[in-house]
């Protein structure tokens, strides 16, 4: 594929996917704790369906979208021409090896490199799609290590509502339902904060975003 056809088709596909997501879900972004600014951030969201980063991505203004990269598992996405095209050309994701044992591959390093380039990241701290009845799966520790290594980056909790009803596990066609993406107040990792405390605080922030019904819009 010539370079320019790749760029054009990836842009067109991105716009098409984003338009489809907004048409089906009528997604309303709620910037509760912060606004859509170009500060370097890591957006930490709950993960219920493949549409998650499409929805966050579509909720951002185009200037922000261009600098925000989702983090995706290479075990799922690095297969087949279609998936690779979507995850790399359209979404410009950071692919990490989720099954890396200690010392093999370096998922934190890949994310750190993306941050050092100036991108913001979208990360799902649950590590995988939540297909159970629990509201939020236990959070993985990767975000703690990343925040330790890059403490100046803002951490913004994000809550995506209703997407698990639009496209539940095992279904292919989405049902039109209204979804909301709520962006909470940014947090940072304290200097002497322990891993357990930090993950607890993050969990609480995400859950309380999910429970907030009538926020005062900024």
């Amino acid at each position: 594929m010539a370079a320019w056809t790749r760029v054009v088709s990836s842009r067109a596909t991105g716009l098409g996917i984003s338009a489809f997501a907004r048409l089906v879900t009528g997604v309303q972004p709620r910037w509760i704790g912060c606004g859509p600014s170009l500060t370097q951030r890591i957006y930490l969201a709950n993960h219920t369906s493949h549409g998650d980063f499409v929805l966050i991505w579509s909720s951002m203004p185009p200037t922000l979208r261009a600098r925000t990269r989702p983090v995706a598992g290479s075990d799922y996405w690095d297969r087949g021409r279609m998936r690779r095209f979507i995850i790399q050309d359209v979404f410009n994701a950071v692919l990490i090896d989720r099954e890396a044992g200690a010392g093999q591959g370096d998922p934190i390093g890949a994310m750190r490199a993306a941050l050092d380039e100036g991108s913001s990241l979208i990360l799902f701290p649950e590590g995988t799609r939540n297909t159970t009845d629990e509201v939020l799966l236990p959070l993985k520790s990767g975000i703690y290590h990343l925040a330790r290594q890059r403490p100046d980056v803002e951490l913004v909790p994000v809550w995506i509502e209703n997407l698990n009803r639009v496209l539940p596990k095992g279904e292919v066609i989405p049902v039109p339902l209204l979804c909301r993406v709520s962006f909470g107040a940014p947090m940072r990792l304290g200097e002497s904060q322990s891993k357990a405390d930090f993950l607890d605080a993050l969990r609480t922030a995400m859950l309380s975003l999910g429970r907030s019904i009538d926020p005062v819009e900024p």
Partner: protein, 143 residues
Amino acid sequence: MTSADPLRNQTLMLFAGLGVVLLVASGIGLALKWRIGFGTPHATIDNLNARIKSWWLLIAVIGGAIAIGKTGTVVLFGFASMLALREFVTISPTRRGDHKALLMAFAVVLPAQYLLVWIEWYGMFTILIPVYAFLFLPIISAL
């Protein structure tokens, strides 16, 4: 076409009347905003102007659909129904097993209903949802 003429005249007069009312309203909104200064944010006046703008949009969309004719109006109502159904289903307590039935409601029943309206099969479009949809969708849900 003689029977269509008075109807057309009445419709045009209706929209002309609406246009005049909206112009007066816009004028008042503009005057109010001018008095306090265009750059000054004022919750009530800004709200009023936003509402008047949405009325303009509403009248324009409905007027456009009526101007296109029957097809335009049916498409507009079909689209509005889809939006309303989506809002309703969002706040209804649904289960995982309802997914296929919900899909059928949006993708089959809704277009079928408006197709029947378009071809003016009165007998069928009045009973499609209360009889057939209410019978078959729960069956699909239970399968």
